[in-house]
């Protein structure tokens, strides 16, 4: 009987005014039984009133959504500083992109500089240094994807083949280490190692071979950027694939073993297809970041005027010419940035579309 009462009670709980400080706040309990045309309908169990209509005060919020919002006011209050941060440090600069259509004047600032229409973009097309930077960014980025991703996948698959949990752990720990060191430090180390009197060249001399100078020769620099990128990130990049491999069903390997598959066949026909979706997602992300590549830190710390021809990317070009040389107008630099962002969004959407068209699960 009591149980029955209770269920009835739960269903037809009288409306509690919000903020009565009733400690717990299950949404169901505070829900009004119904609302019709500006009236709250209240059911009461005990004798007298089973149904009561109460006029809703005109200005007060009502309805489900408003009530939920009022219930969760604290959550919103907690979210507020986060949203505020996004507004101030992400969305205000995003609005500042209008600068791409202005000529920046220091006396007028970001919001009041004069409009120039598409002039900055027209200038882009004839700026040889800009075109060179686009070319370099694409080459360095694409080479990076084509070399770095297969390496990371290979390392992940091979680590998985290692015997013993400790072996896997130790090697993974070791090869991930450089990821946590900044490019400022790494550039210091690498320039020392590869300098004309550095360890590498002294060793080569000792062996009777000719010097290498990847940091000062335009062609060598590209390879150097790719190689040092792999050296730093291969361990870190492989983590995501290792995680994907561990989630492959073990039964598949056992079945293959029964069928007489050797280890290479298992790697090729089970492991690789098993992580295909992860590979595709990482590829989409990488392609989206192609122009926006995170190689600024690396290149900025490693390059020198000797290799600008092959090393100068969009980011380094914007930074150097705007802040160090001061030869570019802020409006023009912003136009380059906007160009980069737009292409980036386009590429990530396109590669995602292609991935979904080929029957893979995309990212967006």
């Amino acid at each position: 009987m009591i149980v029955k009462n209770r269920s009835f009670f739960m269903e037809f709980q009288p409306v509690l005014p919000i903020g009565t400080g009733c400690g717990f706040s299950y949404n169901d309990i505070n829900k009004p039984a119904g609302a019709i045309l500006g009236y709250v309908i209240t059911y009461k169990r005990k004798g007298e009133t089973i149904l009561e209509r109460k006029k809703i005060p005109a200005k007060k919020w009502n309805g489900k959504a408003a009530k939920k919002i009022r219930n969760d006011w604290l959550l919103y209050a907690m979210l507020l500083p986060v949203l505020l941060w996004y507004l101030v440090f992400c969305y205000v600069p995003m609005a500042g992109i209008t600068l791409a259509f202005r000529t920046y004047r220091f006396d007028l600032g970001m919001w009041h500089s004069p409009w120039v229409g598409m002039e900055n973009f027209q200038k882009l097309l004839t700026d040889r240094l800009f075109l060179r930077a686009v070319k370099n960014t694409l080459i360095l980025g694409a080479g990076g994807i084509l070399l770095q991703m297969p390496c990371a996948i290979m390392v992940a698959i091979l680590i998985n083949e290692l015997r013993g949990r400790w072996n896997k752990k130790i090697f993974q720990t070791v090869i991930t280490f450089p990821h946590f060191i900044s490019w400022v430090v790494l550039a210091g180390i690498l320039t020392n190692l590869f300098g004309s009197t550095g360890l590498i060249n002294q060793t080569l001399n000792f062996l009777g071979l000719s010097n290498v100078s990847p940091l000062t020769s335009p062609q060598g620099f590209r390879v150097f950027v790719w190689m040092s990128g792999i050296w730093k990130e291969v361990g870190w990049d492989s983590i995501i694939y290792i995680a994907a491999i561990t989630s492959i069903e073990q039964g598949l390997y056992e079945a293959a073993e029964v069928d007489g598959a050797n280890r290479f066949q298992k790697m090729w026909y089970i492991t690789l297809p098993g992580i295909k979706s992860t590979i595709i997602i990482m590829l989409i992300l990488a392609v989206g970041q192609l122009l926006n590549s995170g190689r600024f830190d690396q290149i900025f710390n490693l390059y020198s005027p000797l290799v600008y021809d092959t090393a100068d990317t969009l980011d380094t070009y914007i930074f150097r010419e705007t802040f160090t040389a001061g030869s570019l107008n802020f409006g023009y630099s912003t136009a380059i940035g906007l160009f980069k962002s737009v292409i980036g969004v386009f590429m990530i959407t396109a590669s995602n579309k292609i991935a979904t068209l080929t029957g893979e699960q995309g990212l967006l």
Binding site: R163, V174, G188, G344, V345
Partner: protein, 296 residues
């Protein structure tokens, strides 16, 4: 003989090659750091004779001494420590709070907030508007310009949100019935049960903060506010830096110091905190990456 179980197969030639491959890879990864270590304690006399490959010929602390005698080094260290400690506190406060709220599925407008946040991963204002924004906020040449622009990492926020989603709702119910509000629940219930996870992200953020140099380069012109990474950059770039000339002045002393030695010593000092923290991070980083995944 044939009774041997699955895990006890004889190591074949492939296993040996694999093992050797990874030993080689590990050596290639670690040797440059070891080389920095032995070069940081070398001196001109020893390096004139041989390049040390495996063992230092001498142990000479002059490189370190030169750095520790530089007042600018301690200022830079102080700035870096401040940026790391205060920065990580702000990072964690904002990301944990934001991630917790966004993990509440009943929240109205949650999808809107999430899309607004995810959109910033796709599209950003870029270098110049960000710079002008910080300038307009009056933060040029203030430590806050190294802290606030990076106060939230959207990527970590999303990972944390996914992690909070994986915590069973029932955990909160008891506290809710006792009258605790969401904020109290977050602090008293959620954070204590996810301590290892929180520690991982603290360390991730801390490493990022310690390595931070980009914002410093963009927004800080004053020498006294430069963090350690920029100090190191100065030491590395300008050979006729004040510090190196100081080192040259020490030539008249008993030891001969190479500018290279000072640089290597400086690199070692800059890496040291990460070397100390790394064993702790690596224990959790795989989990951290896996929990979040990359999908929303």
């Amino acid at each position: 003989m044939r009774k041997k179980g699955k895990g006890h197969k004889r190591a074949g030639i492939f296993d040996v090659c694999l093992y050797l491959f990874f030993v080689l890879l590990a050596l290639v990864t670690l040797y440059p750091f070891y080389y920095v270590l032995i070069m940081s304690v070398a001196n001109a006399v020893s390096t004139a004779r041989h390049v040390p490959y495996l063992l230092p010929y001498v142990v000479d602390w002059t490189g370190y001494q030169t750095i520790f005698e530089d007042a600018a080094f301690f200022r830079a260290l102080l700035v870096s420590a401040f940026v790391t400690i205060v920065g990580v506190s702000i990072n964690m406060f904002l990301s944990v709070m934001g991630a917790y709220v966004l993990s509440k599925k009943q929240l109205i407008g949650r999808n809107v907030f999430l899309s607004l946040i995810l959109f910033t991963m796709l599209f950003s204002g870029g270098m110049i508007p960000s710079y002008l924004n910080v300038k307009n906020l009056g933060m040029i040449n203030s430590v806050w310009s190294m802290i606030l622009p990076g106060a939230i990492s959207t990527y970590y926020l999303i990972i944390m949100k996914n992690y909070f989603l994986s915590i069973p709702e029932s955990l909160e119910d008891a506290a809710r019935i006792d009258g605790a509000n969401s904020f109290i629940i977050l602090i008293k219930v959620i954070i204590p049960v996810s301590m290892p996870f929180m520690a991982t992200f603290c360390l991730f953020y801390a490493v990022e903060r310690w390595n931070e140099w980009y914002n410093a380069m963009l927004y800080i012109n004053e020498k006294r506010l430069q963090p350690l990474q920029i100090y190191l950059k100065d030491v590395l770039i300008s050979m006729n830096n004040q510090l190196v000339s100081q080192a040259q002045a020490m030539l008249s002393k008993s030891q001969k110091v190479l500018s290279g030695t000072v640089q290597m010593a400086c690199i070692m000092v800059t890496m040291l905190p990460i070397l100390c923290v790394y064993p702790m991070v690596q224990k959790h980083f795989v989990k951290g990456v896996m929990v979040g995944g990359i999908k929303e």
